[in-house]
Amino acid sequence: MLIERVLIFLIFITGFIGLISMKNIIKKIIGLNLLNSAVVLLFILEASRIGDKAPILNDKIQNIVDPIPQALMLTAIVIGVCVTALSLAMSVRLYKTTGSLDITIIKERLENEY
């Protein structure tokens, strides 16, 4: 259990570093995705603490996982996809209008614009 948590933490940190320190906006978006996935994995891992069978109750299966976090994460993943799609669409527009994906260069080119 511990090793999984350490790995999830590593994914989280990787995502966070990518989000903050990368100059390329596509890499930033990937970083955000990693952050999201880490939290999703954490929820799923936590749900499987009490069992590892799929929660289909009419088969009288014992040791089922906690179904609520799984249901929640389905929603969270959908939201994550929406955010990713929108941010990628915006980065396409930024690339077309400014000619760069580097956030500092984009900022420089927009500096004197009202």
């Binding site: 978006i29 929820f43 609520i68 929640l72 929406c82 614009e113």
Partner: protein
């Protein structure tokens, strides 16, 4: 669906209307499409206002109406609860969305998508205001955010897209922490509904309590980021100033306040959080002051207004946090909450008015530099405006934000400061009021007649001035005036909702007392003095330094991390 569940209509009607608009966009010819948009606004924004008024007696008599979606047990299902706070939030949203939408018809993004987005936003805000479930709150906040990002980027201008991108990265990544917080609370309490969490949190051991507090902070700080109090407000300036004018009005008027009032519920989860409120009230007061200083330094008209949004939200946060500090069940706490609500109402109205009128003026002038534009009236007349209505509406908005009677800003600011009179907040907020006046004198100069243009207009205006602009401005100006004149009655309505006893502590005399009017006079004089200082050499040097301060992408995360670390150390030690 029985009559008790009527309160879900403010969520479903806008969604229905949005789907009608989008359907008509795909299948119908242009004329029918326009007609469908009007129908959509009628169903989605006007009808909920009527329903909310119908629900008002229910709220007064019963306190709140609630339902578990899908008839599950309350422990699993999502609970929606309609109370006085949700009533006010829905009213605020729909009341402001309508003029902003009307304005957008001719100027802004007059697209079917825009109409649909405004409707979806209204639906999500209604859902946010009613939900009693952390995860549902997360979903609604994210949807509200997504709508906001698209609205900002709808201008198609590259700087607007960049501002939206910046905001999106920042707030989406902070929402990941919100998710972490809700994970922690689910882990500790086994539930996501507010009531269950409150119940279970009481029974936890001391060590688990501390963990729960950190989780609660992870919920609170991302919401505070949306509210944009001072260290967390780096995203706001560009997002609000680069967006289309109608969207700026929506963002400043509604979107920064809704999360704040949702926080009232989050703060009720644990009694320990009350220790945080006094600190937050100081942060709010500081935000009001610093925001106004930055506003004074700006040369871009819309940036100036955006900094004023930060400053005014500081006022609201101060009253709100003090309300929580006293406890919203006590009379003084409820009164402070009413003051905060009333000020957010009047701020929404006058800031909407200011953004729309300044937007019209700067569009006509073709520039947004406050130092360069002069004689906007002349330019507007060239565009076909026969009567200087834009200027009059701007002046109404400006007088309102300066807290000059009889406009609504005077009443809400007076009420807000009335209850904090003995503390240091009062001094800070009064100084911020002086700054507000100075910066609006600076902004008003764009309407001064220009020296260069003196010849009368010979050629007839080429185009007719769009009526929709005037209509939206008139609606907002009238609202500003009416909520000022009938302030007393409005307080009565709000008191009925928030204070259960029959006592009426607010008297008309608190507004027009001699000391208040004198204070207004002094503030105006102070404002003029500050304006003179600021336009002189030493003053403008300092302001220029303030203006040249730039925030970077990573600075925002630093502010976020510092806020979480600071608040958690404050709570735990």
């Amino acid at each position: 669906m029985n009559i008790d569940n009527f309160f879900l209509a403010p969520i479903f009607l806008p969604l229905l209307a949005a789907s009608i608009v989008l359907m008509s966009k795909s299948f119908f010819p242009v004329k029918l499409r326009r007609f469908c948009e009007y129908i959509g606004i009628l169903i989605g924004l006007l009808l909920p206002i009527l329903i909310v008024f119908l629900l008002y007696p229910y709220v007064i008599n019963n306190g709140s109406l609630s339902i578990v979606i899908g008839s599950y047990t309350p422990k699993i299902g999502i609970i929606y609860k309609f109370d006085s706070l949700s009533l006010v939030m829905i009213l605020l949203t729909n009341l402001l969305s309508i003029p902003a939408w009307i304005y957008s018809r001719k100027v802004g993004p007059a697209h079917s998508y825009f109409t649909a987005l405004v409707l979806i936003q209204s639906a999500t805000i209604a859902a946010i205001s009613m939900t009693s479930d952390i995860f549902n709150l997360f979903v609604c906040l994210e949807v509200m955010g997504l709508v906001a990002y698209v609205l900002i980027a709808s201008k198609q201008e590259r700087s607007a897209v960049f501002a939206a991108f910046n905001y999106m990265m920042y707030s989406s990544s902070s929402m990941v922490f919100f998710l972490l917080g809700s994970f922690g609370l689910y882990r500790l309490t086994g539930s996501l509904a507010y009531q269950e969490i409150t119940k279970t949190l009481m029974t936890l051991s001391a060590k688990e309590q501390n963990l729960a507090l950190v989780c609660l902070l992870l919920l609170i700080v991302p919401i505070l980021l949306r509210v944009a109090i001072m260290p967390l407000s780096g995203w706001l300036i560009n997002a609000h100033s680069k967006a289309p004018h109608a969207v700026s009005a929506l963002l400043s008027g509604i979107l920064i306040k809704i999360p704040l009032f949702v926080l009232v519920r989050v703060f009720s989860l644990s009694p320990v959080l009350q220790n945080l409120t006094l600190l937050l009230s100081y942060i709010g007061a500081a935000t009001a002051l610093i925001g106004v200083l930055f506003a004074l330094a700006q040369s871009d008209a819309k940036k100036l207004l955006a900094y004023h949004s930060i400053s005014q939200i500081g006022y609201i946060v101060t009253a709100w946090a003090l309300a929580l500090h006293h406890g919203i069940d006590t009379t003084i706490g409820a009164l402070l909450l009413i003051a905060a609500l009333f000020h957010s109402f009047s701020h929404a109205i006058f800031k909407g008015l200011l953004f729309l009128s300044i937007g019209t003026a700067t569009d006509a002038a073709g520039s947004r530099d406050v130092y360069k534009i002069r004689g906007v009236n002349y330019m507007l007349r060239q565009k076909g405006e026969k009567f200087p209505l834009t200027m009059i509406c701007f002046l109404i908005g400006a007088l309102s934000i300066m807290a000059i009677p009889p406009f609504n800003g005077f009443f809400s600011k007076t009420l807000l400061t009335y209850y904090v009179k003995t503390s240091i907040h009062y001094t800070i907020l009064s100084i911020a009021g002086i700054g507000t006046i100075a910066s609006f004198i600076k902004l008003s100069r764009i309407f001064l007649p220009s020296k260069e243009i003196k010849k009368p207009i010979k050629e007839l205006p080429t185009s007719k001035f769009p009526f929709s602009i005037h209509l939206s401005l008139i609606i907002l100006a009238l609202l500003s005036l009416l909520t000022g004149i009938f302030a007393q009655e409005l307080f009565g309505l709000l008191e009925n909702m928030f204070i259960s006893t029959n006592q009426r502590p607010i008297k008309a005399t608190i507004f027009f007392s001699k000391s208040n009017l004198l204070k207004t006079l002094y503030t105006v004089l102070g404002g003029i003095l500050l304006f003179i200082i600021a336009t002189n050499k030493p003053g403008s040097k300092i302001l220029h330094k303030l203006k040249s301060l730039k925030t970077d992408f990573t600075d925002q995360y630093l502010a976020f991390a510092i806020t979480i670390a600071f608040l958690s150390s404050f709570l735990l030690i």
